[in-house]
């Protein structure tokens, strides 16, 4: 029993330490984004002026909005395409199966500078697609679809497929079965893949830079570009926003969920 206790505390120790290390820079970021110090490097008193400044910088706000839009579309389309593909890869044996599995990993494996340059040439010289937001979205979908495919594929063997069979036996056609049975079963994996896709797509810089049309600026492009000459600490402010908002969101939803589960619990009894 003692060994077990030791193991338990070791696990706890590693986990706690890791969380601290992961969050320390983030907390520092948030703290200094409220600091009067212009460069966000130390504490000099509380102020909200950098947030006000950010809101009045249309370029930064536009970049932020665009990044969010691209990520949202990437998540939706990739989750859909990836889930479908994972389903097909798992359920069926077909000739190109092994190749497809390896090839679909390609976008993740190639260096980003190469994917970017290749897509740029492809869009402009081969298929004559005008660069713009669309080209960025296409690029993002391309390298996030493998993420979704493999995360969902991984769960496939755990799904209770008898439920699907039962639904078909009861007369539902394929679409209904997929939508009402399979999809909800896979939802946790789809959600997990969404969590992965978000940072992957949101942080992407070089590929996006190459395929972006004129006037198309995502947040990483803006941040990298302003680092050369700028003197305002929007970097801290933006970083902080991206932690504060999901944090508030989690607290909010968990508060909601607690109330809901409390209600349902009382309902069941």
């Amino acid at each position: 029993m003692k060994g077990r206790k030791v193991a338990r505390s070791v696990l706890l120790g590693i986990s706690v330490l890791s969380y601290i290390i992961l969050w320390a820079p983030a907390l520092v970021l948030i703290l200094f984004s409220f600091s009067k110090n212009r460069f966000g490097i130390k504490w000099e008193g509380f102020t909200l002026e950098w947030y006000a400044n950010l809101l009045s910088q249309p370029a930064a706000m536009d970049a932020l909005k665009l990044s969010i839009l691209v990520v949202a579309i990437a998540i939706v389309v990739s989750s859909l395409g990836g889930t479908l593909a994972a389903y097909g890869l798992y359920k069926y044996q077909f000739k190109g199966r092994g190749i497809l599995r390896v090839v679909s990993l390609l976008p993740l494996v190639m260096p980003t500078v190469v994917t970017g340059a290749a897509m740029l040439v492809y869009f402009t010289q081969l298929i004559h697609l005008r660069l713009g937001i669309g080209s960025v979205i296409i690029a993002h979908i391309t390298f996030t679809i493998p993420l979704s495919t493999f995360v969902v594929l991984g769960r496939m063997s755990r799904i209770d497929w008898s439920l699907e069979e039962a639904s078909i036996d009861l007369g539902a056609n394929k679409v209904t079965t997929f939508w009402k049975i399979t999809f909800p079963l896979l939802l946790p994996s789809i959600f997990a893949s969404g969590l992965l896709i978000f940072p992957w797509s949101f942080n992407d810089f070089i590929t996006t830079y190459f395929v972006a049309g004129v006037g198309v600026t995502t947040l990483p492009i803006y941040i990298f570009s302003q680092v050369r000459h700028s003197t305002t600490p929007i970097v801290n402010t933006i970083g902080a926003i991206f932690i504060i908002i999901p944090l508030l969101g989690t607290l909010f939803t968990s508060f909601f969920r607690n109330r809901k589960s409390a209600q349902s619990r009382s309902g069941h009894d």
């Binding site: 460069f39 370029a59 402009t124 007369g171 939508w179 009402k180 570009s225 302003q226 050369r228 000459h229």
Partner: protein
């Protein structure tokens, strides 16, 4: 049976609806809002424009003006958060021409993107001299119409007009000048060898780990060449080999290669950083102890140039904008913000005294600085430097 079909139909339509919605949103964004600008261009508008100008401001000819108004948009390609936005909003207010910004984060990336996609629709690109030379070599820039740039004709210094990198200013108009140097922190650094390059490349032992070199092969190797007494643009293998050895020896003493060490400078992490003079002035304005130097062995002089890439869809607007920037008042507004050295005969005299005092005197610039040349930045010079850089970073 019927109920099941109804349920099926409803679900199917639900899915289709969602997909349609996503596609709609995507299409809307792809197409973009119609940015048509239909300002009625008549002789009246041009007369108003001419009348609104000050005595030291020359208007573009009417054909340029008419075409610019018709084109209606300016797409810029520049570093982010650098030129004051007020310049662009004032331009829009005055001419009713919308300005759309695009950004690049690295000169190499910018050149590569234009190399791979020469017809990119940027109207007004703002590379530095090196990018300019590479773009010019790739034939990626349009020839400028001097008749459409009377302010530039008037105020561009003669020396610049005939500069070696672009005699007759055919492809670009410099918006500023700058020299490569290093910034040091007066509170922590006290070296009698100042203002020599030695402080940077052979730093005193007590500054070990507090020095950064520019993370650009041209800037870094060029500085080393100058320190050794050679030309910044040298393509002699023996000289370059010596420069390589110098940097190789310096490597253990430096913190790292960093082109934008702003934060570390402010944080007192870095005390000696290779950077540019204009940037140094800007840092000094925010942190008193930071000072740029004028290296006694000399350095390179460079500029940022306003150019019109060949893919530009609105070249007349680009000309109008360049002419607009060269109005003395606008140039002063720009230089006050960026704190780069002026490349404008009149604006140079209109800058505040504190700036003029710090700026390098003209004799220094004439005697100790040289423009970069194509030899060094393309072809053989590029190959040699690139190979050295690879070895240094191995």
């Amino acid at each position: 049976m019927r109920r099941k079909e109804k349920v099926k139909a409803r679900q199917r339509s639900g899915v289709i609806l969602i997909l349609l919605l996503i596609m709609l949103v995507a299409v809307l964004l792809l197409v973009g809002c119609n940015r048509g600008n239909t300002k009625a261009a008549g002789g009246g508008a041009y007369k108003k424009y001419v009348a609104s100008l000050g005595p030291d401001e020359s208007p573009v000819p009417s054909d340029c003006f008419e075409q610019a108004i018709k084109e209606g948009e300016l797409i810029t390609y520049n570093w982010a958060d650098w030129w004051p936005e007020s310049l662009f909003t004032a331009f829009t207010t005055e001419f009713g021409i919308k300005v759309t910004h695009s950004y690049f984060a690295d000169m190499n990336e910018m050149v590569t993107k234009l190399k791979l996609y020469p017809k990119a629709e940027y109207d007004w690109a703002h590379p530095d001299l090196r990018g300019f030379l590479q773009l010019k070599e790739m034939k990626g820039l349009q020839k400028l119409n001097h008749k459409w740039l009377p302010n530039v004709e008037k105020y561009l210094p003669t020396a610049t007009k005939n500069a070696s990198y672009d005699p007759g200013w055919q492809y670009g108009v410099p918006s500023d000048r700058d020299i490569t140097t290093y910034i040091y922190n007066k509170d922590h650094v006290d070296d009698p060898r100042m203002p020599s390059w030695a402080v940077l490349f052979e730093p005193d032992a007590k500054y070990k780990g507090r020095v950064t070199l520019n993370n650009d092969m041209f800037e870094c190797i060029g500085g080393a060449l100058k320190y050794l007494g050679y030309s910044w643009n040298s393509t002699k293998e023996s000289e370059l080999a010596q420069a390589k050895m110098l940097i190789q020896k310096a490597k253990p003493n430096i913190m790292g290669f960093e082109s934008n060490p702003m934060k570390p400078l402010y944080e007192d992490e870095v005390w000696i950083a290779q950077n540019w003079f204009g940037s140094g002035c800007r840092r000094h304005a925010y942190k008193e102890s930071l000072w740029p130097v004028l290296p006694k062995e000399g350095t390179q002089i460079m500029c940022d140039l306003m150019t019109i890439p060949i893919g530009a869809a609105h070249p007349a607007v680009a000309h109008l904008f360049i002419n607009y920037i060269f109005r003395p008042k606008k140039m002063v507004e720009l230089l006050n913000e960026t704190r780069f050295l002026p490349n404008h005969t009149v604006a140079a005299t209109m800058l505040p005294k504190e700036l003029l005092d710090i700026y390098p005197p003209q004799e220094y610039l004439d005697k100790n600085t040289e423009y970069i040349t194509s030899d060094a930045y393309t072809g053989k010079g590029l190959q040699l430097r690139s190979a050295i850089w690879e070895e240094l970073k191995r």
